[in-house]
Each structure stands twice: as structure tokens, then as C-alpha cells.
């Protein structure tokens, strides 16, 4: 292992720069992933385990046992000292520094134990009810579906509308081509955040407020998408298109059956970006979706954390479920995503 970690191309010695780099990377690893892992671990703890301070790393919860003659389950303790050391007893009640305890196997006899001689018994238990109650009590599926609907529909429309425009701008020569292209590129300088009020006015005049289309329509035409696809389509040789036209293919067929399949790598980048943008969207949905049954997952999480400050157990589980899809996509498509971003400089 050490050999593997310290090996370098050509030579086998690590110098101080390598040690420093490794130190930096390890600290970085802890800082970047630590909080996320802590969230995931915490999401499996019961509400009582979450309230514990200082918190434990793993989801360990107190063990209880039902003992004959007692209605409520009694907490179990490991006895660490005194004449009963090594046994596991259930506590009936505590009186001062003494605890009255009972052996679950022999419920007749009550034993007095000093409270210094015992520690609570714990077991490793995943509180999966944090997750299951999201579905039964919190309408999780509705928010999830709202998010999926917006993400999928907006992405399909984004790809369609922007690739059509990119096709026109890269494969036809017509008057005004440069003007239109520059006009679209110029909108890169106008982020939607500075047009919040007027876009809201337009959306509400169209009667879209509190419908998923209020999020979808304003998002489908993106200068980034047009630019990305146009640059890629420019590299497709025009001869291919002319050959198809010789065979009396309609322009739509040329676009759909020749240019689109050949642009697949660029389309994939746009699909990934668009899905990321829409899934993570926050400010705009916050403005146009006010009814809770139209909430996306992000909005539901936000309102949830505002309302139920105390119910961390469900909130944590919901957060984990929200970051799960993106994490899975990233795990499989890491290379596409990182090279796509490095090449285009968009996020």
C-alpha cells in the first residue's frame, strides 16, 4: 500500500512537496466529503439519538426490553462494577444515586445498583422510519414528481428548441445570421436574476403562476445551449446534408436524422447541464410557485426547514434523498460532466 501511494513515474522517493500536497488533499477530502457523510450518518439516527449531545458518530440507540409486570418497555443497562458486574439489567426507577433494576430473565427479584456501576446498553440500529415516514406523512412523492416533471420536460424542450436554433445558425447562410447569433450571445450578459420582476410580470400575465410551466417556459431558450450546439454543428461537413437533400429529404429530416445524431456528444453535455440546472433551481421556483402542492423538492426542503425547526430526523432524510439522484448521476458520468465543464466553461 505504501509503495503504491508513494510511487511516482520514474522515481520512487517522495519529496517535501509531495508530502505537503498529500496533506492538503487529505484535509480537503475531510472538509469536502466530511459534512456530507455526517449528514448521511445522522439521517439514520432516531430523534432521541439526534438530540444527544455530544453526538455519536454511528447511529447507536438505547436498547429497551419488555419485562413481565411492567407496561412500558424498560431501558437496558450493562453493569460494569459491583457484585453484578457483567450482567445486563433493566431499570425500573432511579432513586438518588441508586437505581432499582430487574433482570429481564428473572423479573421477580429487584436489584439495587449504584448509578456509577452501569452504562446504557446500545445497539446499532438504522432509523429507516425517518425515510419511510417521508412517504406516508410528508407527501414526498408529490414533490419528487413535481421536480422530475419540471426537470424532464424542461430538458427535452431545451434540447429541442436550442438545437433547432443552432442548426439554423450553423447550416444555413441567410441575411441576418450574424445579427441573430450576436443577439443571442449578448443575452449571456443579462442573467435572469436582474430581470426577476419583469419575467414574473410576463409569467403572471400568461396565467402561469403556480404551475410547473412557470418554471419551464422561461428556462428553455438558453444562450449557452445555442452557443455550445452551434460550435459543435459547425464541425459537421455540409456534404452529408447535401447528399440527403439530393435524396429529397425534407429539412426537418436532415436536421433530425443527420445533424442531431452526429451532435450527440454536445447534446449530452447540454442534457446533463439542463437537468442539473432545473433539479437544483431555487430562486425562480421560490418566486413563481407559492402553493405547497406545486412545490419542487428544493422548495419543500426549504419550507420544511423553516416550519419544523425541531424535526431534524425527517429533514435530514429528505435532504439525503434530494442529493441522491445528483450523486448517482455524478458517480456514473463524472468524466462527461468534468470534461464538459472544462471545455465549455459553463455550469
Amino acid at each position: 500500500m505504501k509503495r503504491f501511494l508513494t510511487r511516482r513515474r520514474g522515481r520512487y522517493r517522495m519529496d517535501w512537496m509531495d508530502w505537503l500536497s498529500w496533506g492538503y488533499l487529505v484535509v480537503g477530502l475531510l472538509l469536502m466529503l466530511g459534512p456530507v457523510l455526517w449528514l448521511v450518518l445522522s439521517s439514520f439516527k432516531t430523534e432521541t439519538a439526534l438530540a444527544e449531545y455530544p453526538p455519536r458518530l454511528l447511529p447507536l440507540s438505547a436498547v429497551t426490553a419488555t419485562v413481565e409486570g411492567h407496561d412500558a418497555p424498560l431501558p437496558l443497562f450493562d453493569i460494569t462494577g459491583g457484585e453484578h458486574a457483567g450482567r445486563q439489567l433493566a431499570e425500573i426507577r432511579r432513586i438518588g444515586l441508586e437505581a432499582q433494576m430487574v433482570d429481564p430473565a428473572a423479573p421477580g427479584e429487584t436489584i439495587s445498583i449504584s448509578i456509577d456501576d452501569r452504562t446504557p446498553a446500545r445497539e446499532f440500529k438504522l432509523a429507516t422510519e425517518n425515510y419511510t415516514s417521508l412517504f406516508s406523512r410528508f407527501n414526498f412523492m408529490l414533490y419528487f414528481w413535481n421536480s422530475v416533471f419540471i426537470t424532464v420536460v424542461a430538458t427535452i424542450l431545451t434540447v429541442l428548441v436550442n438545437s433547432m436554433a443552432a442548426f439554423a445558425l450553423s447550416k444555413y447562410r441567410f441575411r441576418g445570421r450574424t445579427t441573430v447569433f450576436l443577439l443571442i450571445i449578448a443575452t449571456l450578459m443579462i442573467p435572469p436574476t436582474i430581470n426577476l420582476v419583469p419575467i414574473f410580470i410576463v409569467v403572471s400575465e400568461l396565467g402561469l403562476v403556480n404551475s410547473p410551466w412557470a418554471v419551464i417556459w422561461p428556462a428553455i431558450a438558453t444562450p449557452t445551449g445555442v452557443f455550445l450546439l452551434r460550435q459543435y454543428m459547425l464541425s459537421i461537413p455540409d456534404d452529408l446534408l447535401d447528399a440527403a437533400r439530393m435524396d429529397h429529404a425534407s429539412e426537418w429530416r436532415v436536421y433530425w436524422k443527420i445533424v442531431m445524431p452526429l451532435s450527440a456528444p454536445a447534446l449530452a453535455v447540454l442534457v446533463i447541464f439542463s437537468m442539473m440546472w432545473r433539479w437544483n433551481d431555487f430562486l425562480w421556483p421560490l418566486i413563481v410557485l407559492n402553493r405547497s402542492d406545486e412545490f419542487t423538492l428544493q422548495l419543500a426542503l426549504n419550507s420544511f426547514q423553516g416550519e419544523l425547526q425541531t424535526s431534524w430526523s425527517n429533514l435530514l432524510a429528505m435532504t439525503v434523498l434530494t442529493l441522491l439522484p445528483i450523486t448517482i448521476v455524478f458517480a456514473f458520468l463524472q468524466k462527461y460532466i468534468t470534461t464538459g465543464i472544462a471545455q465549455t466553461g459553463v455550469k
Partner: protein, 333 residues
């Protein structure tokens, strides 16, 4: 499973083709081959017109009219009153002397935020990119680790850190373990601001690391080989080769991160809600609260504030164009 997905995608693809083929053919015959490009541009141009170009104009119209009415007909013309009220200040350095004191507090906060967030983030991103550019095992893995938070939604980012930073959270437990005093991180104004900057760096740094890494890898290897042959010291290689050749990428990173920082909102809003008080309220949150979250909805004031923000962004973008342009000229000389 993947077979089903692929077949579903293929049939959706074919379906869309069939759906549009006849209408598009008819439209193509109607407009003629010479104008067929406009047919393909149409959906995009309509969307741009409705949701980008029309709003730019409307922004000014709303900024110049008053009242909380949403319909244009009900809004009286007030001239530059909205701008005047935003800019009405005895001293711009003291938000308390301004009529819109919250706006100016937000402007001050945004100024500090941009300065600290961009400064530290670009520096850290550079260090990280330089390290990841070295010949180190597990490089791809570490690149993924630093990039991962970029993909998380702002709400998730904020909740992850809220859980760590809460009064009885793991950070305070760790501090007490080593004998330090616990702190109510998001309740104390100075600490809240620190964490807002920190979390924002945490969430966005990976993106810039990736761009800088691409810039580093574009530097041809033979330049380094030549330097090694001449026995050039590591520091000289860095300051005379790496940094000058990385400069164009650094400019892009700097301007992109400046533009983003000026518009920061999401994770900060969820993490602190702009609080305590208005200690972490930034300009975009002011616009959101003025125009949408509080009654009465002051659309005019919000529009005016966003036009002021647009001016700043415009200057930054022009700065980028000017910087990259003068660099390109410098190279050709």
C-alpha cells in the same frame, strides 16, 4: 433495465420526428427554402423575445412607475423616484444614514462578500488545481471530491452546513472536546458572515478548480522540459512559466466568479435567511424580499435595484472583454 430505457428513448425520438415531420414539411413549402432557417429559429426567438428581450424593456418601465399594482395601467409614472429613494443617502459609507438603509446594508454586505469570497476562493482554487496537476496517484478521485459539492443544490448545501453548525452540532461538540468554548455560529453576526463566505467557497470552488486545471493542462509539456534541462528552480518555473501562461484562464475565472458572487443568494438565504438582523443580507435577497416576499410588493423599487445590480454586472463583463482583448493583442505583438 438499460435496454428498456434505451428502447423508450428511441421510440420517443422517433415519435418526435413523426410528430413534426408533416407540419414542418408544409411550413417549409410555404416559406420556401430561402427562409427555412427562420422556421428553425422561430421557437428560440419567441422564447428569447418573451422571457429576455421584453423583460429588459419592462424592467425599466416598472422601475419608472410606482405603487404595488402589478398591471401597468394601474401604475402611475413616478420618473426616477425609485432610483432617488434607493440612492438617498447622507453618506454611502454609513447605511444608517440612508433612506433605504436595508438596501445599503445589503450593498455593503455584498461588497465584503464579493471581496472575501472571490479572493479566497480563487486563491484556494489555484492551489488545489496546482496540486491536482501534479503526478499524484488517485488524481481523478480527488478531482471528483473537490468538484462534488458544485453539483449539490443550494438548499442541500445550506442544510448540510446548518446541521454541522447548529448550537448542538458536531462542530461545537468537537470544540468542547478539545476544551474550547462552543459558539452559536449562525446567531452571532460576525461568525454568520464568516460561515456564509466559507460555505459559498465550499460549494463553488470545484468549478473553478476544474477550469484552472484545464488551463494548466493546456500548457505544453515541452516548455517545462526545456526549463528542467536548464536547471531552472521550481519557484522560477512557477512564476515565469506557469503563472504567465495561466493568466488568460485566471482572468476568466476571476470575472466569472465576480459575476456570480454579485448575484449570490440561494444557499445564503437558506442558511441564514439574511440574518441575524440583516448581517448576511445580500443585494439579490433585498430584491427578492422587496418585490416578492413582503407586502406591499414594491415591484418598482425591486426593478430599480436590479437595474443598479445590472450596471455593476455590465461593467464587470466589459472589464472581462477588455482584459481578454488586451491580452490577445499583447500575445500577437
Amino acid at each position: 433495465m438499460s435496454g428498456i430505457v434505451r428502447r423508450a428513448a428511441a421510440s420517443l425520438y422517433a415519435f418526435t420526428f413523426n410528430l413534426f415531420e408533416r407540419p414542418m414539411l408544409a411550413a417549409q413549402r410555404a416559406v420556401g427554402m430561402r427562409r427555412v432557417a427562420w422556421l428553425f429559429l422561430l421557437p428560440n426567438l419567441v422564447a428569447f423575445a418573451l422571457f429576455t428581450f421584453l423583460p429588459i424593456g419592462l424592467n425599466f418601465v416598472y422601475a419608472l412607475t410606482g405603487s404595488d399594482a402589478i398591471l401597468l395601467a394601474d401604475r402611475p409614472f413616478v420618473g426616477t423616484a425609485n432610483f432617488a429613494s434607493l440612492l438617498d443617502c447622507a453618506s454611502y459609507l454609513d447605511p444608517n444614514s440612508c433612506r433605504r438603509d436595508i438596501f445599503w446594508r445589503a450593498v455593503h454586505n455584498t461588497g465584503w462578500f464579493v471581496l472575501l469570497q472571490v479572493g479566497f476562493m480563487v486563491a484556494l482554487a489555484l492551489v488545489t488545481a496546482l496540486i491536482l496537476n501534479r503526478d499524484i496517484p488517485l488524481r481523478g478521485f480527488f478531482r471528483g471530491v473537490f468538484f462534488y459539492p458544485v453539483l449539490l443544490s443550494p438548499v442541500v448545501v445550506a442544510l448540510i452546513w446548518k446541521w454541522v453548525l447548529q448550537r448542538y452540532g458536531v462542530l461545537n461538540a468537537g470544540l468542547e472536546e478539545i476544551g474550547a468554548e462552543p459558539v452559536n455560529w449562525l446567531v452571532r453576526a460576525d461568525w454568520a458572515f464568516f460561515w456564509v463566505v466559507f460555505v459559498s467557497i465550499w460549494a463553488h470552488m470545484g468549478f473553478y478548480v476544474l477550469i484552472l486545471l484545464a488551463g494548466l493542462q493546456a500548457i505544453p509539456a515541452h516548455v517545462y522540459e526545456a526549463a528542467e534541462m536548464d536547471g531552472t528552480s521550481k519557484w522560477r518555473v512557477f512564476s515565469r512559466i506557469t503563472m504567465p501562461l495561466l493568466m488568460p484562464t485566471m482572468v476568466v475565472v476571476l470575472v466569472l466568479s465576480l459575476i456570480r458572487a454579485v448575484q449570490a443568494f440561494d444557499e445564503i438565504y437558506v442558511l441564514t435567511g439574511g440574518g441575524p438582523g440583516s448581517a448576511t443580507m445580500l443585494v439579490l435577497q433585498y430584491i427578492y424580499e422587496t418585490g416578492f416576499a413582503s407586502q406591499p410588493r414594491l415591484f418598482g423599487l425591486a426593478a430599480a435595484a436590479s437595474i443598479l445590480m445590472a450596471v455593476v454586472l455590465f461593467v464587470l463583463t466589459l472589464g472581462q472583454l477588455w482584459l481578454t482583448r488586451s491580452r490577445a493583442e499583447g500575445d500577437s505583438r
